[in-house]
C-alpha cells in the first residue's frame, strides 16, 4: 500500500505537467474511459488499438493495461484543483502556461486553470479558488469609482458641455 501511494504521488506531479486546463482534464478523463471500456471488449487487441488510435501521445506514457490502475489514475486527475480566472481577452497557450507556472509556484503545484473569456471585465481578471471570489478587474474598480464620485464626474461632464 505504501509503495502504491508513493507511486501515485510521484505520478501525480507528472500528470499535472501534461494537464494545464479543465478542457485538457476532461479530454484525459474521456481517453481513460475509452481505455477502461476497451478492457471489457471480447475481441483481442482492442486496448492497444484504442491506445494507438484514440489516446494522445502525451498521455500514453502514464497508461498501463490494468483496470484498477486506470481507475485510480482517473481519481488522481479528478483531484487536481481548479483555479478559475475570467479575462477580458482569450489568452494564447503561452499566456496560459505563464499564468499557470506562476500559480503553481506560489499557490499549489496541483492546480489546473479554468479560463473564461468575458469582455465586460475590460482589463485585469476575476479569480475564483476554493469557493472564494476576488474581482481584480478594471470593470470593478471603474464601477466603484463611478459610484463613489458620481456627482463629481457628472459635474465635470456638465462643465465641459
Amino acid at each position: 500500500m505504501h509503495l502504491r501511494a508513493m507511486n501515485y504521488s510521484a505520478m501525480n506531479e507528472k500528470i499535472s505537467d501534461i494537464i494545464s486546463t479543465t478542457d485538457e482534464q476532461a479530454m484525459a478523463l474521456k481517453e481513460i474511459d475509452l481505455l477502461i471500456n476497451s478492457l471489457y471488449s471480447t475481441e483481442g487487441g482492442d486496448f492497444e488499438k484504442v491506445l494507438s488510435g484514440s489516446v494522445r501521445n502525451v498521455l500514453t506514457q502514464f497508461v498501463k493495461k490494468d483496470k484498477d490502475y486506470l481507475v485510480n489514475l482517473k481519481e488522481e486527475i479528478n483531484k487536481l484543483e481548479v483555479f478559475h480566472i475570467t479575462l477580458a481577452y482569450e489568452p494564447s497557450s503561452e499566456g496560459i502556461n505563464r499564468i499557470l507556472t506562476w500559480i503553481r509556484k506560489n499557490v499549489n503545484p496541483n492546480i489546473i486553470l479554468d479560463v473564461t473569456h468575458d469582455p465586460s471585465v475590460v482589463a485585469g481578471l476575476t479569480v475564483t479558488f476554493r469557493g472564494k471570489y476576488i474581482d481584480l478587474s478594471i470593470n470593478n474598480s471603474l464601477s466603484g469609482t463611478f459610484k463613489d464620485k458620481y456627482v463629481d464626474i457628472m459635474n465635470t461632464i456638465i462643465k465641459h458641455e
Binding site: 475564483t128 476554493r130 469557493g131 472564494k132 471570489y133 474581482d135 470593478n140
Partner: protein, 476 residues
Amino acid sequence: MNKNFQYYLNKTKEVGYVEEVFPSLVYASGLPSVHASELVIFESGEMGQVWSVTENYLEILLLTSSNLKGGTKITRTGKILQIPVGDFVLGKHLEPIYITSNKGIEYRPIDSAPFGIVHRDLVNEPFETGVSMVDLVVPLGRGQRELVIGDRKTGKSTFSLQTLLSFYSAGGITIYTLIGKTRQEIKRLSDFLKENNVMDRCVLISSSLINPPALSFMAPMTAMTIAEYFKDQGKDVLVIFDDLTTHAKIYREIALLARRFPGRNSYPGDIFYIHSKLLERAGKYKKGTITAIAIADSVLSDLSGYIQTNLMAITDGHIFFDFDYFNQGKRPPINPYLSVTRVGAQAQTELARDASRTLARFLIRYKRLTELAHFGADFKERAAEDLALGEQVQAFFNQRSLVIVPMSLSILIFASIWGRLWKGARISDFRKRLDELIELYYKDSTYKEKVNGVINKHNAFTDLVTEVRANSDLYI
C-alpha cells in the same frame, strides 16, 4: 449574468458550483463560509436555501422553478429566509414566499421558534365555529389548536370555511393556507372568499402542485409568521392549514431525494418535530390569540395513520368527519363520539358547559338505544320518547353548508328540543322552522336581542329550559 447575483458575489466574495440537480434539490460545492438556512442565489437568478452543509457538498432547496444545469455558479446572500409582514397582506392572495415594493416594512424569519410559556395565557374565550354540533359537543376556545380529520370529500374544507366566515363575522383576522392543491381548487377558494366579501380581513396563501415542493413545504410557516404579526398587535387570528397530510407528503418527497434515512411509512424522522414546531406557535397569548385549524386526510376512516396520530398528539383535540355518517346523509358528518376537545370546555360559559354536558350524556344514551333498535327491541315509553328526541337532535345538527348558527341560538334551540317543545312535530317541518329562526336571528334585531338576553340571563341549563317552555311563543 443576473444583476442580483453579481451584487451578492461582489458583496460576499464567495462562489460555488452546482454539481448535481434533482427536482427541488441541488447539490453544490464551494461557498466555504455558507451556513445552514442561508439564502443563496444562482447565476441564472434562481433562489435557494441551504438545507445542510457537509464537508464535501451543500444541499440546497430550490425556492423557484428552475432549469438548472451542472456547473452553474452560486453565491451567498448572507441572509436567511424572511417575509415582509404588515397590514398590506390583508386582502391578498399570496405565494408562500413573496416580496413587496412597500418601503419601511417589517421582515420576519418564517421558521422561528415558538414563544415560551411566559408569553402565554390560559385558553378561556370561546371560539364560535357557527356549526351547532361543534359548538355544543366539541367546543373550541380562542388559541386552541384543533385537528379536523376525515376521509377525502367529507366536508372538512367546507367546515373550515364555515369556521372562517363565523370568525370573520366575530371580527377576527383569518388566514387560509392551501398546501399542494390544484390550480382549480385554489381558484375556487379564492373566488369563494371574494364572493363572501371577507378578503378585507383575510389572507390566502396557496402553493399549487406545479410550484417547487420547497414552496409548499414553507406555506404553513409563512401563514404562521403572518398570524404572529397580527397576534403581536393584540388581534385574534384564525389560521387554517389545508392540509397537513399533503404537507407531510411533500416533506417526505424532499427528504427522500435528499437521501435522508426513511422512518415509518418512509417519512423522515423529524416530521413530528416540523409539525409540532409549527402548531406550537399557535395559542392564547397575553396579547392576542392564534387559533389553528389543521386539516388532515384519513384513508377509509383509519385514524391510526402515522401523520394522523402525530397530529392528534400535537393538537388540543380533533373533530372526526366520519365517512359512514356522510353516507347516512348527516351534514356535517361529524362523529361526536370520536371527536375530542381538550381545552374548549374551559373556555365555555357556565350555561354552555351545562348544555354540552347534558347533550353529551344524552348522545351516549341515544347511541345505545339506536344500537338496540337494530335488534327490533320493544321500548318502553321513556325510551321511545328518547329515540324521537334523538332524531330531532340529529335533525338539528344537520346544518346546511356555509350557514352560520350563532352559539346563543344553538343553545336556545337545544333547550327548546330538550323542553319537548317540538314533540310530535314532523322532522321536515322542524328543520324548516329552524332555518326560519336562523334567518330571523340575522334579520330581526329584536329577536336577536331577545335570544342573547335569555342566554345571558341563565347559568343553569334547566333554568333556561324552564324559561323557554314557559315563553315558547317568544323564542320559537
